[in-house]
Structure formats: structure tokens, C-alpha cells
Symmetry: C2
Subunit: 203 residues, 2 copies
Amino acid sequence: MNSDPKIQKKSGYHHGDLRAQLIEATRQLVEEKGPDHFSVSQACRVAGVSTAAPYRHFRNKEEMLESVCEEAAERHFTQMKAALEGLPDGDLERIIAMGRVYVGFAQAEPSVFRLMFSWPHQSGAQAPGEDAAPPPTKTLVETEVAKLLGRTEIDSDVKLRATMLWTFVHGLSFLLIDGKAKVCEFDSDIEEMLSEAARRVMA
Amino acid sequence: MNSDPKIQKKSGYHHGDLRAQLIEATRQLVEEKGPDHFSVSQACRVAGVSTAAPYRHFRNKEEMLESVCEEAAERHFTQMKAALEGLPDGDLERIIAMGRVYVGFAQAEPSVFRLMFSWPHQSGAQAPGEDAAPPPTKTLVETEVAKLLGRTEIDSDVKLRATMLWTFVHGLSFLLIDGKAKVCEFDSDIEEMLSEAARRVMA
DNA sequence: TTACATAAGTTAGAATCTCTAACTTTGACA
DNA sequence: TGTCAAAGTTAGAGATTCTAACTTATGTAA
């Protein structure tokens, strides 16, 4: 237990970097046991602090989970952008590469992925009319679609195609991690689905 | 409180139909507050029994939620089959109709939908090699795809297309209920995406 | 009809969890 | 060096899940 070098119990009275370590502990526990079997107390034990300590850094349990979501969303986005590097503009492979990363993230961190996309919980609760900022992921995909089609602006056709692509990889991610159906026999099937979908949507 | 005619507190010592009523109470609470803010005690209060009563019918909290999932999966499947009635074989509309129901269910019961498809939690936990029975939904879609293509058997092309369709509506459902991005402005956009996707995948 | 086994409730309580209140330690800076 | 605020701690209230032991109702068989 606690073999992770990123997490070390505090040495002195003050911890130094408790907030970050609690987020990391939370992320690990969520991944291990699922979002609903995570407890603040466990995270405290992992970090080696009392059960009251987190409340100096987070308002409550929800806010800890939310921080994990934010951190994960950042990594997700960064990975997607990185996937584009080195691929020439106008290549369908750019779209496929982003899809591969999207699905890959979900497979690597299924519980965190699920948590990310079911946040905040009562979706109806957010003030109607007031939208959260559109996720940068969306913009990224739209830009790629426009470039591939040789459009200079993001018109409604571009938006529709981008949404279809996103929808597709999102669905594929969930089906894969839920393991409800054996969606794919091999990784090569995933590759085939990704490229087929990209081809058909961009056609 | 407790205005739902389906849920009534017991009259005598014995309840009569506690198991079913607890499932219904659980379903409602999950929908209201989200799967992770549901508590057994709340369901007990709704049903008007002591907090120990559920344990005569369910092993634990998990099993209560699981029962909700099973019941929901049944309704989901039934609705999809019903959507096909009256539509002539070989009509693309059959595919679209199923997609409409799929997405509609998710919108009508977002929390339950999410719960259904994240069950069981540690997906890695299920014995490897041993697959759960493929969901009847999958078979239903495959059959329709085969019919539409005039195939007599479910070959790998049929499977690929069916999976792509499923993946698409699944992703659309999640994006809609997560409300992460304003995916669609109007219901007509959903219609357009459904028919575009069906057309492109079946082409 | 009555006896009784069993299904399906109950109360009481242990163990765990979230979060607050009040107190203490430590480090930074005037 | 003294003081204050930040970031720990302990103690504990209130809720929760689930078990153990007890009680009540009901259906069946003599």
C-alpha cells in the first residue's frame, strides 16, 4: 500500500502540498473502487492526514471529486492536442488520431472518464439558459472538421459533422468501458470503426 | 410528499408488495437526486417501513440499484420493440425510430439511464472470458440492419454497422443528458442527426 | 379450528462516514 | 523576536449501511 511515489505521507505537521496529494489520492481511489465507493476518509488514510484535514482545502466531498474532474479534463484535452502534432493539415488521420486518444483515455481511466462526463450531477440543476463554457474539446474538433472541408468558418454543416464525430467516439468510449456488449473483438476493430466513422461523416 | 399513487405506505404489519415498492421508490430517488445521493434510508421513509426492512428482499444497497437497472433495461427494450410496430420492413425509418426511442429514454430518465449503463461498477471485475449475455438490444439492431441490407445472416459487415449505429445513439444520449455541450439547439437537430447517421451508416 | 413453521416485519446497535467546532502547531514577516 | 494566519489536530454530532435478535402475521396440515 502507498507504493506510489507521487503520494507520500507528510513529514512535519504541515504537509506542504496536501491539496494536490488529496486530488491524486482521490483520483486513484475513484479509479480503483469506482466513484461511488470512494470515501474522503480513505483518501485521508492514503495521504496520512486526519479526516478533518481535507476541509481546509475543499468545501466537501463533491468538491474533491470535482477537482479530479477538472484535472482529468485538462489531461484529456492536452492528449488530444498532442495527437495532432506532426500530422499534416487536411489529413483525415488528424480526426482519427483525436478519436483514438478520446477512446484511449476512456479505456485507461474508465471511472474517471465516467465521472468527468456525468458532472455536475443534477444536470437539470444548472441555471437554464446559462450554458457552461463549451468544452475546448468541441472547438478543437470543429476546427479540424472545418480545415478538412476547406471551410474558413464554422458553419452549421461543420458543427453537425463535428457533433456526429464527437458523439460517435463518446458512445464508443462508453460502450467499451461499460463492457455491456463485447463491442470489439480486437483493437483492430476499434481502429476500423474509428476510420469508418470518420470517412462516412466527412464524406 | 408521497403523492405518487404507485407508492403507498403499508397498512398492516405486512406490506404486501414491499419489494416492488422499494424498487419503485429507489428508481424515483435515483432520478431525483442522482445515483450517488440515493440512500436506502430514504427509500424506507418513502415506503413507510423501517430501515431494516429492505434487507429481507435485497442483499444490500447495490442489489437494490441493480434491480432498478434490470427493470429499466426491460422497459427500454420494450419501448424499442414497440417503436418498430407498423413500420414496413426495409424502411430506414425503422432504424431511426429505434434511435429516437433510445435517445428519448435517456432524456426522460437520465440518471437511471446512466446507472443502467455503468453497471456493474468495476467492469474489470467480471470474470474475464465469461461474457454477460449480449443485451437483447444489440440483437434487435443487428436484425434490423440485416433486413435492411437484404442479408439473411448476421455477418461481420452487419455487425460493424449495427455497432456503429448503437455507438452513435449511445453517445448522443450521453452528450444530451450530460449537457456538457449544448449539443443541439432544438429537437429537430436531434432528428437530423439521427437520420443523417442512419443514412450514412447504412449507405 | 388450532398449531406451528416461516415469511416478513420490528428495534437496537456496531461500524463507518461526512462535516463542524474548537484547539494547536508552524512558518512567514514586521 | 512576537504575532498572526494557514493548515494541521481531536472530539463529536448526525446520518448511513447492515446485522442480530425479537415479533407478528399467514398459510397449511392435522
